[in-house]
């Protein structure tokens, strides 16, 4: 199950662990604050799937663009989003990424190539394919990455976009985070094939299945797909088999049909624990290093919460700002 360590310098490998831990601690805090009534609406946690966002984004550089889903915190953090502005957005404040207009489901940072979390399943796939077309027309070697779930892989835009990206050889990565459930519905009940990646053959592009809990395995698959995309050879579909530890949302009292033993088994395959073990085995991490990393992350999170709490709410009259651009 343990993949070979990728050809990444040790500090980059430790950075992967730091990002994955940041995602988890950010969401643990977001969940607590949601339950405490400080964060509104709905929060979808990515906990358990951190290796996917971090593994893929480690293979990207700043010119590359990604799009996310309703479960978007992980992609934001992995692409380099600012924790203060993320937390402020969750808190509904003026200083948030979207000035309090978006919330957890709609964080974007176009400045770092994060084209937004999207509340419609499969809603972002076509948009980021347009970013891939833009990258191709710009001709600067940039790539675009669509993150989506197993549920979205059954929706029209997935198929429409794989086809057009393949036909036009767009520099795209389609990354399916197969966590085995579309909200509460098991993928086995809605997919005729066990592997989403197998559908790539229908569009004449590579389809790869990887262990989505193994950050190095995800990185390696993404790296190969990025090389292919940058070379002009076209898109790749990467299916990351993973699991969401928590319910579909953090809302209390929601049904969760999943078998407890299944949840426990996947929690026993914690992507963070796996990466930590890999780094320790390679001599790139020790107890002191891990403690320091945890301390820095918790300090950054506390600072983010303090920033959010100290930030003003939007003014009521700002509800009419930004309907149209100047």
């Amino acid at each position: 199950m343990t993949s070979l360590s990728p050809n990444l310098p040790p500090d980059k490998q430790r950075e992967m662990l730091r990002q994955m831990l940041t995602i988890r601690r950010f969401e643990e805090r977001a969940s607590d604050d949601y339950r405490a009534g400080k964060i509104y609406g709905v929060v979808h946690c990515y906990i358990g799937e951190e290796a996917v966002a971090v593994g893929v984004c480690t293979a990207l550089d700043p010119r590359d663009r990604i799009i996310s889903t309703h479960r978007g915190h992980g992609h934001c953090i992995a692409k380099g989003a600012d924790l203060n502005r993320m937390m402020a957005e969750l808190y509904g404040r003026q200083t948030g990424y979207c000035k309090g207009k978006g919330g957890s489901m709609h964080i974007a940072d176009f400045g770092i190539g994060m084209l937004g979390a999207n509340g419609i399943v499969a809603g972002g796939i076509a948009i980021v394919t347009g970013a891939g077309l833009a990258a191709q027309m710009e001709g600067n070697g940039g790539v675009a990455v669509s993150f989506f779930g197993d549920g979205a892989s059954n929706a029209g835009p997935f198929h429409e976009c794989l086809n057009i990206a393949a036909a036009w050889k767009l520099p795209m990565l389609y990354v399916c985070e197969n966590n085995m459930y579309a909200a509460q519905t098991a993928a086995v009940a809605t997919h005729a094939l066990s592997d989403v990646a197998a559908r790539a053959a229908g569009y004449g592009i590579p389809g790869v299945v990887v262990d989505g809990n193994d950050a190095f395995a995800v990185y390696q698959a993404a790296h190969a797909a990025v090389e292919r995309a940058r070379s002009g050879a076209g898109p790749t579909l990467i299916e990351c088999k993973t699991y969401r530890w928590r319910g579909h949302t953090e809302r209390a009292g929601q049904p969760d049909p999943r078998d407890r033993a299944e949840v426990d088994a996947w929690q026993g395959r914690d992507p963070i624990a796996l990466l930590e073990r890999q780094l320790r085995e390679q001599g790139e991490l020790d107890d002191a290093g891990l403690r320091a990393m945890e301390g820095e992350i918790m300090a950054a999170l506390e600072a983010a919460v303090a920033f959010a709490e100290a930030s003003p709410f939007p003014l009521p009259e700002q509800a009419t700002d930004d309907v149209f651009a100047a």
């Binding site: 663009r65 799009i67 948030g96 990424y97 979207c98 000035k99 309090g100 207009k101 978006g102 709609h106 974007a108 940072d109 176009f110 400045g111 084209l115 937004g116 999207n118 509340g119 419609i120 809603g123 796939i125 076509a126 948009i127 980021v128 394919t129 347009g130 970013a131 891939g132 077309l133 833009a134 990258a135 027309m137 710009e138 675009a144 029209g156 835009p157 429409e160 976009c161 086809n163 057009i164 036909a167 700002d321 930004d322 309907v323 149209f324 651009a325 100047a326």
Partner: protein, 325 residues
């Protein structure tokens, strides 16, 4: 002045803008033939018949620094892309706090008269007007088409160009070279003093014909063409109604929650306008049915100059009665 058809005016506007700005490119399910030779297949793109994908791709390209034109061809095909239009294009600038702009021009022909039945004869602009975050217009002349399209292409928002199928081959004066018409500015196509007719596209021409007929009876009709649906030029509509005291709204769409209802509200919810109304507002719309195929049936559904005349006579009844006393 040189004459162009409504459709030629649109193509000329796009060509001039594409020459001016290399970030503009065009996507539709068949390449826009008149421009393919000049701009090539990279900028005049033929896509698969996947309106959802090409609409979304337009949004993504716009958010990445390009200025796409997405041609749905007929508005009926835009419904295939409704999530991308309503949930994505309309909301993305606002929802993300205005971080970047999404300059996209969508094109869609509307209207009936082609004997092509229900799925290809629609005027659903009020459905789009109801969605915050979209601008849209519907020109009645080749001159307006060119000027509005050029403005829309330069606008930093998603803008829908609704284009009347009935008017595609209609000719009119169009200046060569660059000129623009601002969005949100109505045009008084004919001045008059007894009644205001607010009409769009083909019905502007029907209203003008009605006005010509009624002029022989001494009835003076003012024809107001809003041109832009969002933002709607409420000031010009109200000013005209305050002057004439009577309002007829002619629309190729059905009346229910439609453009005509919006114009009626614009006139009646403004106290200064309402107080000048001498008769109830009259709507002359298509019947609220899917558009039928057979010419006899189709003609029965749509308003025309005769129904506009009947509508005008209806709101003038009070005047006739008063004059007779």
């Amino acid at each position: 002045m040189r004459e162009l058809t409504y459709n030629e005016a649109a193509v000329e506007a796009i060509a001039e803008e594409m020459r001016r700005d290399p970030k503009i490119f065009y996507m539709s399910t068949d390449a826009l033939a008149p421009l393919l030779k000049e701009f090539g297949p990279q900028r005049i793109r033929a896509t698969p018949i996947t309106e959802a994908a090409l609409t979304g791709m337009g949004i993504g390209a716009a958010g990445s620094g390009f200025r796409p034109i997405v041609d749905w061809r007929q508005v009926t095909f835009s419904f295939v892309a409704m999530d991308q239009i309503v949930n994505q294009a309309a909301k993305i600038h606002y929802m993300f706090g205005g971080q970047v702009t999404f300059p996209i021009l969508f094109r869609a022909s509307v209207g009936g008269g082609g004997k092509v039945a229900a799925q290809h004869s629609q005027s659903p602009y009020s459905m789009f007007m109801n969605v915050a975050g979209l601008k849209m217009f519907l020109p009645s002349t080749p001159y307006d088409m060119k000027g509005l399209l050029k403005t829309a292409i330069r606008d930093n928002n998603p803008v829908i160009s609704f284009e009347s199928g009935r008017l595609m081959a209609r000719k009119g004066d169009v200046p060569e070279g660059d000129y623009t018409i601002p969005l949100g500015v109505a045009d008084v196509k004919r001045e008059g003093s007894d009644v205001t007719v607010v009409a769009l596209a083909w019905l502007v021409h029907e209203a003008l014909a009605a006005a010509e007929t009624l002029a022989t009876e001494g009835i003076s009709v003012e024809v107001v063409d809003p041109r832009t649906l969002v933002p709607l030029d409420t000031a010009t509509i109200r000013e005209s109604v305050r002057k004439t005291g009577r309002l007829v709204i002619a629309d190729e769409a059905g009346p229910t929650a439609g453009f005509s209802a919006e114009v009626a509200a614009v006139a009646t919810e403004d106290a200064a306008t309402f107080s000048r109304l001498k008769a109830p507002v009259k709507r002359v719309c298509a019947l609220q049915v899917p558009i039928p195929y057979s010419p006899v049936l189709e003609d029965a559904v749509f308003p025309d100059r005769n129904r506009i005349i009947a509508g005008i006579r209806e709101v003038l009844q009070g005047r006739r009665a008063a004059a007779a006393e």
